[in-house]
């Protein structure tokens, strides 16, 4: 028996065809010849995409503001205009070989919710805002989540405007060039923030589940390990006299898999990069560089994983007589989303007859920038085969629609 009173489902549903059509129309801008989409942040293709979304916002009578880092917010009036808005959104920039849904789905589903409300003649108590944030992907300018980071105070505006991209242009210059250097001061107080996104991983697809109630974003620890041994002839050097940097690198990679399995889900640990020198068949490697990527939703567990990994790196290197140096490449603490919102994503999905599970996000999202400031949550829908940042990124249309309908219900509840 569940004693918690649950709001009943609203009978309103989004317009499937209109949502899928808008997704296709936006994906046509920057479309790649072989499929997929390329709209790197602040390029001409990004400008065209922005212009299209802003046009849709205006068609829906949203009040559009652009801030100095180029974030665009479309605001719909509420019955009590003095209240902070409920905000939804995501990003419309893509990686170089992106798909139609990463980011775009969250923005276009937000617009679809507004459109459905308008069609039904519903005005919520709180204002609603649909936002898209500049340079979430970080594929042209580092770091990623730049627009939401500046807006929510995690990143410095002036520093970001001066950031030079992979092609030598700066964020500030490119914002001016494409006409999205707005005059609003970044900052948006939200009553709550929710974001619909594709999972970008295989969990929902493998388990046949439609909705992910996202519990937070994993903490990330990236470390580069450099090992210096002694280069020796592979034929003439007995095993006992070796100082094989390549072997230690391999042992670290094997240990990291064991560590992840011992700690158990949601721990993930990866050695994605490993380079040997001289990298010859008959020479014991005297130099190895590898990266450790550790992620967990719990900061204490992530720290434990780091401790155990670093201790093992040191022990393995010492046993082989190899020198080790480490360099931190990145470190982000885990972000926890609001239990109230996680629970409502579950409750709404169940009430709609959709399968649902709680899960962390392995990737970073704009939502995590809001989490310290207001109740925040995310809704995931399945990525077929877990494929992401790839022209073969796909989600079943039924799942796209289901996610948007959960978003509609959630925004209705939050905005009253």
């Amino acid at each position: 028996m569940d004693a918690t009173p649950r709001p009943p489902l609203h009978p309103l549903r989004i317009d499937r065809d209109r949502l899928l059509r808008r997704i296709d129309e936006l994906a046509a801008i920057g479309a790649l010849p072989g499929g997929g989409v390329c709209r790197l942040a602040l390029t001409d293709a990004d400008r065209q995409g922005r212009d299209q979304v802003v046009a849709w916002m205006r068609e829906l009578d949203l009040e559009v503001t652009v801030d100095r880092i180029g974030n665009v917010v479309g605001r719909r009036r509420g019955r009590e205009e003095s209240l902070d808005p409920v905000v939804t959104g995501s990003h419309i920039d893509t990686v170089r070989t992106g798909g139609p849904l990463d980011g775009n789905l969250g923005v276009l589903a937000g617009l679809e919710v507004v459109a459905a409300l308008r069609d039904a003649g519903i005005t919520t108590r709180r204002p609603l805002a649909v936002a898209f944030f500049t340079n979430e992907e970080g594929a042209r300018f580092a770091p990623d989540m730049m627009g939401s980071g500046v807006q929510q105070g995690a990143l410095d505006l002036d520093h970001c405007l001066k950031t030079v991209g992979i092609d030598g242009e700066t964020v500030g210059d490119e914002l001016w060039r494409i006409g999205y250097a707005g005059d609003a001061t970044p900052g948006l107080r939200a009553h709550a923030y929710v974001e619909l996104h594709i999972e970008q991983g295989p969990v929902l697809d493998r388990e046949g589940i439609t909705i992910g109630a996202v519990t937070g974003v994993q903490g990330i620890s990236w470390t580069e390990v450099t090992l210096r041994g002694v280069s020796n002839h592979a034929g003439t050097t007995p095993m006992a006299l070796r100082h094989d940097a390549g072997l230690v690198a391999a042992e670290i990679a094997v240990f990291l898999r064991r560590l992840a399995l011992e700690i158990g889900p949601p721990m993930v640990a990866t050695v994605g990069a490993l380079t040997l020198r001289p990298n010859l068949v008959n020479v014991v490697a005297n130099h190895a560089v590898l990266t450790l990527d550790l992620r967990h939703t719990d900061e204490a567990t992530l720290q434990e994983a780091e401790r155990r990994a670093f201790a093992e790196v040191a022990a393995l290197a010492e046993r082989e007589g190899v020198q080790v140096t480490t360099r931190r490449l990145a470190r982000f603490e885990p972000v926890a989303f609001a239990e109230a919102i996680i629970g409502r994503v579950e409750g709404i999905a169940e009430a709609m007859g959709l399968s649902v599970r709680r899960m962390p996000s392995g990737a970073g999202h704009d939502a995590q920038m809001f989490a310290p400031h207001c109740p925040t949550g995310m809704i995931f829908v399945p990525s077929i085969d877990g494929i992401s940042h790839n022209i073969r990124e796909r989600t079943a249309p039924d799942d796209v629609v289901a996610g948007a309908d959960v978003l509609l219900q959630l925004l209705l509840e939050l905005a009253g």
Copy 2:
């Protein structure tokens, strides 16, 4: 009690200063600015080196012949000219960053033995021959041990003459260019073949032993393993759903070390080359290429090591759901030297008060081409720190001299 009669040591010794001076003089040809020597096979530097050694041969009244693959043999008459000669020698070509002793020591020590015999007025019963063989290193033209291989029938002359080097020139053209395309048909019947060489490994140096009585040359098995997994997001892909080609590559490298330790010396096993794709910190590798270098002096054991390695590669790949293909890069059976000669190297060293141990050669040598055809052996002297194919290649002068004196005694015994 040892029942085997041992020949007494001859009182003759080599001339230390003359040997060390010739080593320095030859090393001055092709000397590198920072130390070390570069006389790649059939270059102008190699020609200058050859001319110098041939001049020394003529000063010693040796009958010099050059065969069609450029091998040079300097022959000293014996008391019974109808008998096959006892042959010693090595090579004078070097790798790009070679040292003064690799190969050169065996040739110059052979000349020094002849000089010492001449000075003492000694004529052996059998003829003596000192040879240097074309392109032992294989650093400009593949394969290595080309001259001795052609001479002893393991390689085809015409094929080798057409071989194109790393700079686009052929062996045949370069032999003509430098004046070493001789007219003698390759082929040299030897009563026995012995070669003095630096160890090129750390064993003698580590153990403080002066003389290695070489038991044979290890068999070599080189295999390239290609692993094809699935590229996935390191943050969003749970461990249980991965097909990580990089992990399997690392597991193979770790297994190979364990295999070598389990089989025990002289087994050596090395993963010297390992390349991942896309080789990014946050992407599970979908592609890995690594090399397996397995060596043992016993063919059955080498085959056992191959069987176990390939079985483990297949099992590890299957467990991770990664596709595996293998390609054989090289395979040479072990070569066993003659027990009679190994025993005499030991006996002579002991009689001279030198420390000695039996050991296999981890590297290939011209001697192995003679082993199928006549009693063959090698004498090793220590490489300081085991450094080889490096401008820091060094051997203590006392050890150089000791090795040459053992060679002198051995040649005297064999030639009678």
